[in-house]
Amino acid sequence: MIPGIPQPRALRWLWRAYVAAFFVYLALPLVVVCVFAFNKSQFAALPWNGFTLDWFIGDQRPWLGVFNDRGILEALKISAIVAFWVSAASVSVGVTTAFLFVRHDFRFKQTLYVLMLLPLVIPGIILGISILVETSYLANWLEDATGLWFDGLRPGLTLVVLGQFAFIATFATLVISARLEKFDRSLEEAALNLGATPLGAVRQVTLPYLAPAIVGAALVSMLMSFENFNTTLMLVGSDAPLTIEMFDRMKQGSTPVLNAVSLLLIVASSVLGGVALALRRAR
């Protein structure tokens, strides 16, 4: 298939069929997950026993729906809290780091840049255990030394946030740097020239220019945090975020309440993702 060049009809059809098949392959698992959220069966499998909304609104075990499932709701809340902090931290550091790498020259810049990229090629589980090991030893040492307790250094939400931040910050930095690089410095100079102070120029011109990237990075960070599993698994304490809760339930063998949560997740993240994409377009 060559763009703009006439092709035999059969080849064109074959090609289209392949592309169509591909998108069916992409959609199938998600569609199936969603459909089985409405099956009147305790088990997400065939046969189809009829339509039900119990997995959303049921209030009696085992027909307990998402909206009445304390565990799921709690996990959802935890995920949201984690996502909020991860995204806030990643975006803040992303902005400062983007300015650093785009605007400044200093010794070891290249080395630091490569180091900053590394989290992208460290398997999540290893990131998780390495932070677990570090903080455990640190906590043990601090506790031995002071006799106090350092709960923040033990598996729990703080570590989950830190662990996710460790690699999501790289994404945020890349997204924001990409936009900052495209920023025409003469806009800032124009602002100075028109009487703005250096900070005023950044505030009135540069940051508004970066806004779509910042919001986009925040949304992407939230999505990544929400769906992170590998790193979180190693750092989670008593408060399980949604993916961990769902994984535990899957291992335990759960009712299609999982399908219902998944459906909600798919809808919510598509909306968020759509917004992030629209923002990227809007530049």
Partner: protein, 383 residues
Amino acid sequence: MTDTPDLEAVRLTRRFQDFTAVDEVSFAAPPGSFFSILGPSGCGKTTLLRMIAGFLEPSSGALRIKGRDMVGVPPNRRPVAMVFQHLALFPMMDVGRNVGFGLRQRRVPSAEIERRVADALERVGLPGFERRRVDQLSGGQKQRVAIARAMVIEPALLLLDEPLGALDLKLREHMKVELKRLQEAFGATFVYITHDQSEALVMSDQVAVMNRGRFEQIGPPQELYYNPRTAFVAGFVGDANRLRGKVLRREGDAVEVADPAGQPLRAAAASAGLAPGDEAELFVRPEAIRVSRQAEDVAGMDNVFACEVRDILFNGANSRINARVAGSAREFDVAAPQTGEFADLRRGERIHIGWNAAAARAFAAEPAEPAEPGKAQAEEGAA
């Protein structure tokens, strides 16, 4: 208005490491004038302008605006406004907020901002454009908004860094005239930089020709065109045929230069210091050469050649004849007379060309340089 120039530079110099981008440049732009700095790419124009705007510190020399010394004054405190090459309109603000930006920085009350913005937009011919988004404007409109934004703060000086560079040909032609009219309307001093000689010639009261960090000549456009003082100016401003040869004789300002193709070439105006035996470069403008089918028609002129037509470059009023001197490799570009008298000229035909010594100028030849633009540059490539 006093006689203090709006802008005055004295031996202004800027070095980057061991490279001197601007080299002891001195000039003064009188109030209300359109002052252009014309030079090839990389000659230091932007560096100079950025020093005036305060984005770069001079390495040495003095810079005064309205008589006030500018050294150490940050850009946001200087009474200059700038129109950037790519205009640098703020894309996140509408036209009104763009134009009002400078006033907001000065904490002008918002009612007054509104009034002055409306007024500025009116003056650039865009009344009521306040709520337009920047990306909804055409190239020419953007240009005018940039000027309004700069002029609304009533700067002593407006600096323009090749603002027409990004426009397409037709619009550029139009904006040349427009810019000059705006300058007159605002009555402000414009300092305009460009590498396009036709822009500088058409718009300016004064043009400074810059080359390798230095000013080669400052003067009104006609003076540069008709009385270039250096070989560089002669070659860079306007088209010219360029001839090299050894100086044979010198009499006052007039010289005779040896030409391999036959009779010596005569020029009435030679630069000082050009002595017999020196390598000289002669410049003759295509429109200064007379062309005829009959040898007699040009016989009385100081320099005459019998040629063969190599190409006819028909281009309406700007048609050229490319003629090669018979029995030589020397070529001339000759303006085809606008009378249309040579419309039937054919390639290979024999013609006679001639020009008077008064139409030619001679300079000491510079060694051919990569930084040199014009004809020579376009010949690159034939390794």
